[in-house]
Amino acid sequence: MGYTLNFSAVWRSFDDLLFGLGLSLLLAVLSIGIGCLIGLVLAFGQTARQPLLRAPAGLYVTVFRNTPLLVLVLISFFTLPQLGLRLSKTNSFVLALSLYSGAYLAEVFRGGLLGVPKGLREAGLAIGLTEGQIRRRIILPIMLRAVLPALGSTFIGLFKDTSLAAAIAVPELTFEARKINVESFRVVETWLVASALYVGTCSILAALLRRVEARLSLAG
């Protein structure tokens, strides 16, 4: 029994897939952007000298890193309206992925902060810089360079996580692929093309990040 590949139905709807991919990227960029801000604040909180800052940051990471993303998405879309916060499908997904990525990125950044030699802070203090200036001008740039490789993997993972938005009918790549699949019954072709789009996009993303890494390398 043979299965003949026939991509014509997929190519006919290829624009829908590309549109879906575009939305996936947009979801990822927004969520990762917000997640980075959350992650930075949490990472500095977790490494702070004051226990009053460390505890809430630790609690956040525990809660959001240990809840499956799909559950967060469903809570964000179905539960928040009950509490009076009604967001669009897209916004509620961005909220869920932002909170979730914040927890993961916090751990990446925290690892980077622990690797910054203590002496650099003291050198900054010794020339009269304030703690804030030291964080912005010395610790942050050094930490970001150190975490770039780990950050790349995290970004790619989070980009792929946007496929969970299909669960609440956000028309991103996975949702569009499922629609084509249902309409055309070309199961193999549809998911081959959709996977190829994910793999291609992630590869480009990885290559870009590696170039940034090489440019910012401290060895140069």
Binding site: P117, G119, L120, E122, A123, G124, L125, A126, I127, G128, L129, T130, E131, Q133, R137, I138, P141, I142, R145, L218, A219, G220
Partner: protein, 256 residues
């Protein structure tokens, strides 16, 4: 005698239950070059770090040009000064560290410029000119665009000294600046310090280089178990130590 540049009174400092400084008194006049010697754990580095508030201290006072460093007392209660005020006071002193602590993401020039632009609020071109001037003084103008990863240990320490001195501090603190260097790189760093001493810069130098301490300082302080064990001019002290502890220390440091 003029008012002292640095005045340390009854300085006490503990790490947990271990008392590291047990009442140190020390007065430094402008232009003096003072070497602080002593075994590991005698408190010499800690004393230096208290002077620019890299360490908090529980008792006593430190004054630079009569201004109390780090703490204020009101209504009989001693409080740490606000962070901004301490940052300003730290800029009164410059410090060079054993591990150099250059900022690895900046070139030599950027390392020296950072404090000038952020703390001294100099415009970029003036800061650049000042920084280049000091890099020239330490013989590294031709390395100004190099990152720390491309510099030798001796060069790193010279940039670090330029970074500190460019801030025109009232007092320079050197914390075992040659201890992490390969032996053949020590001389170039000591030469830079000797030049600065000749220019009249006031200095406190924590060092294990006895020959250097002997040659460069007007006065030597021997720290012993958290107190000043002995102090005086190096020639007398090294020739005729008046305490057994110093005699033993000098013997073990093989000073000849």
């Amino acid at each position: 005698m003029s008012a002292p540049l640095l005045e340390i009174r009854d300085l006490h400092k503990s790490f947990g239950s271990v008392e590291v400084l047990k009442g140190v008194d020390c007065t430094v006049q402008a232009g003096e070059v003072i070497s602080i010697i002593g075994s590991s754990g005698s408190g010499k580095t800690t004393m230096l770090r208290c002077v620019n508030m890299l360490e908090d201290f529980e008792g006593g006072s430190i004054r630079i040009d009569g201004e109390e460093i780090g703490y204020l007392t009101d209504g009989g209660r001693r409080r740490r000064k606000p962070e901004r005020e301490i940052a300003r006071q730290r800029a009164l002193t410059g410090m060079a560290f054993q591990q150099f602590n250059l900022f690895p993401h900046m070139t030599a020039l950027e390392n020296v410029m950072l404090g000038l632009t952020l703390v001294k609020k100099m415009p970029a071109d003036a800061a650049r000119a000042t920084a280049e001037g000091w890099l020239d003084r330490v013989g590294l103008l031709n390395r100004k665009d190099h990152r720390p990863s491309k510099l030798s240990g001796g060069q790193l320490q010279r940039v670090a000294i330029a970074r500190a001195i460019a801030m025109s501090p009232r007092l320079m603190l050197f914390d075992e600046v040659t201890s992490a260097l390969d032996p053949e790189l020590v001389a170039e760093v000591l030469q830079v310090i000797t030049d600065l001493a000749r220019d009249g810069m006031t200095m406190l130098i924590v060092t294990h280089e006895m020959r250097f301490a002997f040659d460069v300082s007007n006065r030597v302080i021997f720290m012993n178990q958290g107190r000043i064990g002995e102090e005086g001019d190096p020639k007398t002290m090294f020739a005729n130590p008046s305490t057994e502890r110093l005699a033993e220390f000098l013997k073990n440091s093989r000073f000849s």
